[in-house]
């Protein structure tokens, strides 16, 4: 058995010395096969063999793999990531990983944000000084992680300046940090000292919360059956119309939240109904057609339509609510866009199951606010809620 074992090891070793060059597919073809993976295991067969073959490629293949992220789905990007790391790890151990090549990819902003971050983290393994060189320029990067690193540096610096008594410099540094901050923990850490210094900061605008809404409800959601019922607002948006609601006739009302995190508390705005549904609609003016993320937080079941198209629906109740709980990628058209949200409350009686609320913002994939050009969220205290509705 021992001889057989050794014979096998030799055979395996020979096989691992590299693909038969006469039969080997090109890296372009291998990458194409990896990019072909789809839902529910589609394309796995060709992709698995492609990963095995591509993983044996020389270190010089790494930039090509990184560039392939541009045209890869998030699924395929992970397959590419695994392949990249196998080659990079081998090259690192053989001291063949070239930091200059990786850095050139990182600094090119047109490259895919995930691939740039991957390249950056391997760059640090061969050149830890790269962080000091690159991160300060990443404040408004397309990668939320690069932004976070850049903000963290400014936050540390600004805090130190304040501790040293340099209030003006500290405030200036922190304001600069806020320009790039997309993560709430960093935003809070920046905003508190700035407000202590008397600065005014509009968090609704910073995050891009939609604050001005028209609401109508309650419609019936007894036994949560209303989730699948298409009540009139799903068929028409006529703001002078009245409909039969759960208990009485219901009509559209205006509502503007002054909560700085954009929370619309339906239990207060209307009443703490149970087994009920409210529709909320808002208009969003986009200067151009663009891809954005609608980010929603709610403990209630919900459906979201953009310009009449259902973007997502979810019937989960009271499993928690948080900022950016849901991220829904959508395409906005140039000009007027209509958001319609259905917010469903169930009939649970526990104290923790009484919340009926939501917060919604529009942002880029990295989390920076995308503001409607037709209404500014900072108007929340003026009482002027007509702006968002004009022209409808």
């Amino acid at each position: 058995m021992k001889h057989l074992f050794y014979a096998t090891m030799v055979a395996v070793g020979l096989a691992l010395t590299g693909p038969d060059t006469a039969d080997a597919a090109t890296s372009v073809e291998l990458i194409r096969r990896i990019q072909g993976v789809g839902n529910e295991g589609a394309g796995h067969g060709p992709a698995i063999s492609a990963v095995k073959e591509l993983s044996q490629a020389p270190v010089t293949t790494l930039p090509e793999i990184l560039r392939a992220f541009d045209t890869a789905s998030p699924l395929a990007a992970n397959w590419l990531c695994g392949t990249f790391e196998t080659i990079a790890d081998r090259a690192l151990k053989q001291k063949q990983l070239d930091g200059r090549t990786l850095e050139a990819f990182v600094v090119e902003r047109k490259n895919n944000a995930v691939a740039r971050r991957l390249a950056y983290e391997w760059l640090l393994k061969v050149d830890p000084t790269a962080a000091d060189r690159l991160i300060p320029g990443m404040l408004q990067d397309a990668s939320a992680e690069f932004r976070r690193d850049a903000v963290a540096r400014l936050l540390t610096a600004g805090t130190k300046q304040l501790e040293d008594g340099a209030k003006e410099d500290g405030a200036k540094t922190l304001k600069q940090a806020l320009l790039g901050a997309v993560d709430d923990d960093q935003v809070k850490a920046i905003v508190k000292p700035l407000r202590d210094l008397g600065e005014t900061i509009d968090l609704q605008k910073h995050f891009g919360f939609v604050t001005h809404w028209k609401l109508i409800g309650p419609f019936d959601n007894t036994a949560t059956k209303g989730f699948d019922v298409a009540y009139p607002p799903e068929k028409e948006l006529k703001f002078d119309a009245k409909y039969r609601g759960k208990d009485d006739e219901v009509a559209w009302t205006e509502f503007a939240t002054d909560d700085e995190y954009g929370t619309v508390n339906l239990a207060k705005a209307l009443a703490p109904h149970k087994g009920a549904i409210t529709y909320a609609t808002a208009e969003f003016q986009s200067p151009a057609a663009q891809s954005v993320e609608i980010r929603l937080g709610t403990p209630n079941a919900w459906k979201l339509w953009i310009n009449g198209e259902l973007a997502f629906a979810r019937d989960e109740y009271h499993r928690g609510a948080s900022l950016d709980q849901y991220k829904v990628p959508v395409k906005l058209q140039a000009g007027r866009n209509v958001l319609l949200l259905k917010v469903c409350q169930n009939e649970q009686t526990e104290e923790w199951a009484q919340d009926w609320k939501y917060q919604l913002r529009v942002c880029t994939k990295s989390g920076s606010a995308v503001l409607s050009t037709g209404v500014t969220t900072s108007q929340r205290n003026t009482g002027d809620v007509r702006v968002a509705r004009e022209g409808r």
Partner: protein
């Protein structure tokens, strides 16, 4: 070239699979019983006693370590959004990092602060690691860290998520990875071909959040092994290769502690604990007993040395007779507990959330708490016990606790 491939193929077929009996390949061990062998384990530990090694981890997690041969595998998540997924391989001997791979979450990564995206324990068939995350990203790597395949189950099933996070751990039964992704909005169980990552079957499951993990009921031969899927509705035994339902218990069950198996008896956290007896070769069990006073907390019960053990939500360790459910004794531990009991070498080991590992010596009239050992960090995972070593992790560290060699 063709002849070479044929030779290689023949050689590979003839080489026996290297199986280490002492592996701990998935949540609660190879057979999902949480029982190790009789190799003496440390019954006391501290910073300078019986810690073979302690290594830092890249990110958070409450998934359990698994052990394949001389390697320890751990999953973590990192980043503000918990969207960076890590699989790390350590040498069991000295804790040296052998490799680390990372991926990006394709599904929702949010969770209750106590949980994390790395809550599910990875599983292995001895040749591959299958790492599932709460974001429903499922990574298959070989033991050297080479990617085999990657699935995004939330890409396939966009509503199969839980805003509190998910923690059901997949298991390998034969050549199928069985995973439950069960939630209020979209609820499924999926049987996945370990070699290709393709789904062999997908079954709709009760729409109710469910954190329990599947268990395996061994048959007289491996082809008869069944996967046990617990849910709020009860428990379903399925053929792991086809997903075909062979038995359905519909009297409801817990959605947090999982079922445990001893031979052909299944102990379900249902109306207390309900014991189902499967006759040899039969998939149609009878209810052996039901103990409504037996209420396990978060951790899964365990059967060890002819007794059934569980810890309730008040931190009381119960010992019951697995033949009839009669309570033999009880002793109060220091809780609260998120992890499950494990047993080896005549002892139970229970880690509370504060990181205090409590060792209970068995064999007398009543269990004896022989030590309380504080690791000083939050411990939510269930430890692995292999070859006399206890492996346990926190958000920050992985420990190997073992007697000096």
């Amino acid at each position: 070239m063709q002849r070479f491939i044929q030779t290689l193929g023949l050689a590979v077929v003839l080489v026996p699979t290297l199986v280490f009996a002492a592996d701990w390949r998935q949540f609660r061990g190879n057979d999902t019983t949480a029982v190790g062998d009789d190799t003496p384990i440390p019954t006391e530990w501290s910073a300078d006693k019986n810690v073979a090694w302690k290594v830092p981890l890249t990110g958070r997690g409450l998934s359990c370590p698994i052990i394949i041969g001389d390697r320890v595998f751990v999953t973590c998540c990192s980043g503000y959004r918990q969207d960076r997924l890590h699989v790390i391989c350590f040498a069991a001997k000295d804790g040296k990092t052998l490799w680390e791979r990372q991926f990006w979450a394709t599904g929702r990564t949010g969770s209750h602060p106590k949980m994390s995206n790395a809550s599910s324990t990875p599983a292995s068939d001895g040749k591959h690691i299958f790492a599932l995350f709460s974001s429903n990203d499922l990574v298959c790597l070989d033991l050297d860290g080479n990617l085999e395949w990657f699935r995004g189950l939330m890409v396939d099933f966009p509503n199969a998520s839980n805003s509190l996070g998910m923690s059901s751990s997949p298991i390998v039964v034969g050549d199928t990875l069985v995973t439950q992704i069960e939630n209020d909005s979209q609820s499924l169980a999926v049987g996945i071909d370990v070699a290709t990552g393709e789904s062999r079957w997908t079954k709709e499951r009760p729409k109710r959040a469910n954190w329990t993990s599947p268990a395996v009921l061994r048959g007289t031969k491996s082809a008869d092994d069944l996967a046990l899927l617990q849910s709020s509705a009860g428990m379903t035994a399925v053929n792991p290769r086809t997903g075909a339902v062979v038995f359905n218990y519909d009297n409801g069950a817990s959605t947090i502690p999982s079922s445990t198996v001893n031979g052909r008896t299944v102990f379900i956290p249902s109306r207390g604990i309900t014991a189902l007896q499967f006759a040899e070769g039969s998939a149609n069990p009878e209810i052996l007993w039901r103990g409504e006073r037996l209420n396990p907390g978060t951790g899964t019960p365990i059967v060890y040395q002819d007794s059934l053990y569980f810890v309730n939500n008040a931190g009381v360790l119960f010992c019951a007779d697995p033949k009839n459910g009669d309570i033999k004794w009880q002793v109060r531990l220091e809780g609260p507990f998120s992890s499950s009991l494990v047993a080896a070498a005549g002892h139970l080991v229970a880690f509370n959330e504060k990181g205090v590992g409590q060792v209970v010596k068995l064999g007398g009239e009543k269990g004896e708490i022989v030590s309380k050992n504080d690791l000083g960090e939050t411990i939510l995972c269930t430890p692995a016990i292999v070859d006399g070593a206890i492996y346990v992790r926190s958000d920050e560290h992985l420990w190997k606790l073992a007697l000096p060699q």
